[in-house]
Symmetry: C2
Subunit: 151 residues, 2 copies
């Protein structure tokens, strides 16, 4: 919710509070967490009185295309066929459709084209899940799903 | 969490429960909500004893590229440089990079190329927020942010 509003252009505590309808103490905690996680940066914009605002970082800006995809997905499935938000081309105003493609080939990444496999940082639970599903897909009825307790 | 596991290939109540480490009553409620929202469908796979599993729908499958983008975003920002999950091309095993492009032009949709504007279904609060931000961006110091109470 905060990120959605920050993407839209809100930056100040009272703006987020009124837009999200959230208690000040909860908003304050969330904003602190987001600053700690590098999603927002707290910037002073006035010294007397002291005032600051929250701006997007490169890290959070990278999430914007994901927000765009979610907006389109919501529009495709909205109940009354009347989308609340429309993505448009900034220059021309033309409504746009976003598609996720393989950067190298330009081919759309449909669910059958790729898979997500354990990487070098995968822990024991993740590797167990992957092996279990591999067996299941191969038609071997795997034993009960009993992942290790810890990574 | 449930969706992540369903994308990975888990389908059964006990699989989700062990993978997510969640109390059965909470999981049960979440699964019911997801079936109601059309994200999962409950399918019988055995009649004696009666057993069912939860499968993805077309609606939830459309969220998969978003999960892919989130995985890549997480990998780019993971603390130790050791990504836990890697997206790879199913046929060749080559690691892939996903990019969001405009379906019509094939151009990458960077944050400056598009904006998200109120659509035909936008309520009063959304329209207010949009107008307020427009003023703010135009350098006019808007009045206090006071969105209407209801849509």
């Amino acid at each position: 919710m905060i990120l959605r509003d920050a993407f839209a252009g809100l930056t100040r505590f009272d703006e987020f509070q009124r837009s999200c309808n959230v208690a000040p103490n909860i908003l304050s905690r969330r904003l602190k967490e987001m600053v700690k996680d590098g999603l927002l940066v707290r910037v002073s914009y006035s010294s007397a009185p002291p005032r600051h605002e929250y701006r997007l970082t490169d890290k959070s800006r990278e999430l914007h295309p994901i927000m765009l995809m979610l907006t389109e997905w919501g529009n495709r499935h909205c109940v009354n066929g009347q989308p609340p938000m429309l993505p448009v081309d900034t220059a021309s105003g033309r409504p746009i459709t976003a598609v996720v493609v393989d950067k190298e080939t330009g081919q759309p990444l449909t669910i059958d084209r790729y898979e997500i496999v354990p990487g070098p940082g995968a822990g024991a639970r993740l590797r167990y899940r992957h092996d279990y599903i591999h067996q299941k897909r191969a038609g071997q009825m795997p034993a009960r799903f009993l992942p290790p307790e810890a990574d």
